[in-house]
């Protein structure tokens, strides 16, 4: 029964996150999309495609760094303190500002170059910024349960058997508890990246308009561009088309984030 409910939750989460996949399918001439202006349609597909790339790349990049730093922070106390200090400093700066700071060194390049290469550089900078902003919480998500397992539970026994610290941590990292922690951390990385992507896109759209730099296509920018559609006599569909998929994707990530170890039903 428990397994069935977990499978159902996973299926629901995948269904809710399906707009990210739909953006890659040739749906431009079908259904609702057929009624939309070509520019808007292109922008919708471009923004969700870019969002899916951003989420996938940030997940891969940030989770690899998170696992490394989480492990290192327990493996070496001095390293752990240094990492904690660094991440606390990063966390004290709002995510949007970090993203803007990250764009500063490349802003000239983005303004001078053609759309294709500019978009690529912009995407890479954004992935770097998103990784940086998600790291503090993500590393804590790994190091706290790993530290708990090591220091409070297994270190004394296994050190007394002659295991080296690194070997104990290797085995604990593969434990069910840590796999659950990693899964929750991945959901957290995705959720934070999604929020940053949309809020950054929204602010860029408001601040720079469609010709501004950085060249960051995002559903958030689409929402910002059509924010008056609900009340100023525009087409409400243009607002809801990016907003509803964003809400369902967020819900999917929340479902995955809330998936904890089961207790007796």
């Amino acid at each position: 029964m428990k397994k069935l409910s977990r499978i159902s939750a996973l299926a629901l989460a995948l269904a809710l996150a399906s707009p990210l996949v739909a953006a890659w399918l040739p749906l431009g001439g079908t259904g609702l999309f057929a009624q939309l202006a070509p520019d808007y349609r292109a922008a919708w597909f471009a923004s969700f495609r870019q969002l899916s790339i951003t989420l996938a790349a940030t997940l891969a990049f940030a989770s690899a760094i998170t696992i490394g730093l989480g492990y290192l922070s327990i493996y070496s106390r001095a390293g752990g303190k240094a990492i904690a200090g660094l991440l606390e400093a990063v966390e004290s700066v709002p995510s949007i500002l970090i993203a803007l700071f990250c764009y500063a060194p490349v802003s000239g390049y983005l303004a001078r170059h053609a759309a294709a290469s500019s978009s690529m550089v912009s995407l890479m900078v954004f992935i770097f910024a998103a990784t940086l902003t998600t790291l503090p919480e993500a590393v804590r998500g790994i190091s706290i349960p790993l530290g708990e397992l090591y220091y409070r539970k297994y270190s004394l026994s296994f050190r007394s058997y002659g295991f080296r610290k690194g070997r104990i941590l290797d085995i604990l990292m593969r434990s069910r508890e840590m796999r659950d922690a990693l899964k929750r951390t991945c959901s957290l990385i995705l959720l934070k990246t999604l929020v940053l992507d949309c809020s950054f896109g929204f602010i860029i759209q408001l601040g720079f308009g469609s010709y501004g730099t950085p060249a960051h296509a995002s559903p958030g920018a689409l929402i910002a561009a059509h924010r008056d559609a609900l009340f100023q006599g525009g087409q409400p569909l243009l607002f809801w088309l990016p907003a509803i998929p964003l809400a369902t994707i967020s819900l999917a990530l929340l479902i995955m984030l809330g998936d904890k170890k089961g207790y007796a039903e």
Binding site: R152, G162, R164, S175, G262, A264, E265
Partner: protein, 502 residues
Amino acid sequence: MSNFPIVLKGFSAAIGDRKLFDIDDFAPEQGSSTAIVGRTGVGKSVLLRALAGLLPADPFILKGSMRLYDIDAYKNGRKTSLRSWRSVMAKGLVFVPAESSQSLTPALTLEQNLRLLAPDSRELVERRLREYFRIEFADFSRFYPDEVSGGELQRITLMILLSRKGDIVYLDEPTVSLDRELRVRFIELLNSEFLGGKGKTVLAASHDLDFVRALKMDNIVALEDGSLKKMGGVPESAAFAKRETEDKGEPGIALRSLTQRYTVRGIFGEKEFRAFENLNIAFHRSRIYGITGPSGCGKTSMTRAILRLIDGTSGRIELDGSELISLKSDERGGDPKAFRPFRRKMTIVQQDSRYAFFPDLRIRDSFRQIEAARALSGGRDRRRGRRGNDSLEAYMKKVELSPSLLEAYPRSLSSGEMKRMDIARALAAKPEVLLLDEPFAHIDFATRSIVMRAISDYMAENDSILIVVTHEDFDLKYFVETGIDFLSLSGPSASLKERVRS
């Protein structure tokens, strides 16, 4: 509300094919107290954790129904809705688990833990700590759980948990880690504030018959053969005659001017304390030494210092003509090459054996890894694998564990089974120095005799050094050959003396 706050009907629990209990009908009266006695591993803790709603779905299979405060808590073996359990929790459940000190959240200070677990009970906690355990909560409130000694943490946690609001109280082996003095005070607390017509419905599971005998319990039931049987009184605990070892006076391990320092976080940075100071003693081979002393006096620190698993040790630890502190002065997550042969010679059974094997490996696989690590440490006998396994199975039989448990995961073993498995693991390692830290706390008296016999047989056959940290009268009377009061060995620092006095 009816007169029966806890009602079980056809309630059963099993792990796979292994049935733990099947209770037809159990409904203690409001305000009554019931002690559940029985051998370790029969399912006492599982029953209490199910009653508290804390039993993990995996690996237990539950059936039947449970009502708490007239609210359906389990139906057909399934937990009812979150709303039902919220209603139960709102009326109040007090649950004190066996390893109570693990109940606190390590990321919160003791003050924050108190506010989380027992809001509005600060005065009660303070009064009870002062009255029964002579501890001022305010002195410890800003510390994190890891920053206070095991004994202090245990007392504070017990009081926080017991001061939660609720008329249903579950106590699961609450005395397993309490020293003799604390146990007496804990019994005083229970008798004067919880038992004997105080309106609380108390269920206490314990294999410690002396503890149950000292409590003002209304009913005694035994969990035997999977069902609850009412008993006329507390059964007598069995005595035990062990095989005598032959003390040849051979030198074993000697501690000379041994001092153990540790640091505690203070308002103005870290402050240094001493767990013990100037410890001088020699432990001979083929003799069973029992170390006693109040909680927090440094007994466990001494065993960890001998094993070279903690920093801050000074003085000398001599074994086989070598000085261990000079071979390994700091714990850096690995052993220097010169120390590795000594790692192979020593082993410990810790107070909490739940973490003696890796969580997601079968016991057999964990044991293989442990054997491999020990072989690498010692640099000899690397092909011991098969023989090590046979040896483990032999010792498992001696402590009355089924070899089939080798295929089990640690989470499916009871605390008593894990303790016996850990002892079998330690004996199978054929150590020259065997350190046992409260080794029998989770084991009932009948099983304890069996385990003691296995250990004394090992001692009679090997010239090993055995140091047992214990505060149980039974162990001191029937098992230990030389009892040592830890405080008489060392000159404790002023701060320690002060804490021990409390």
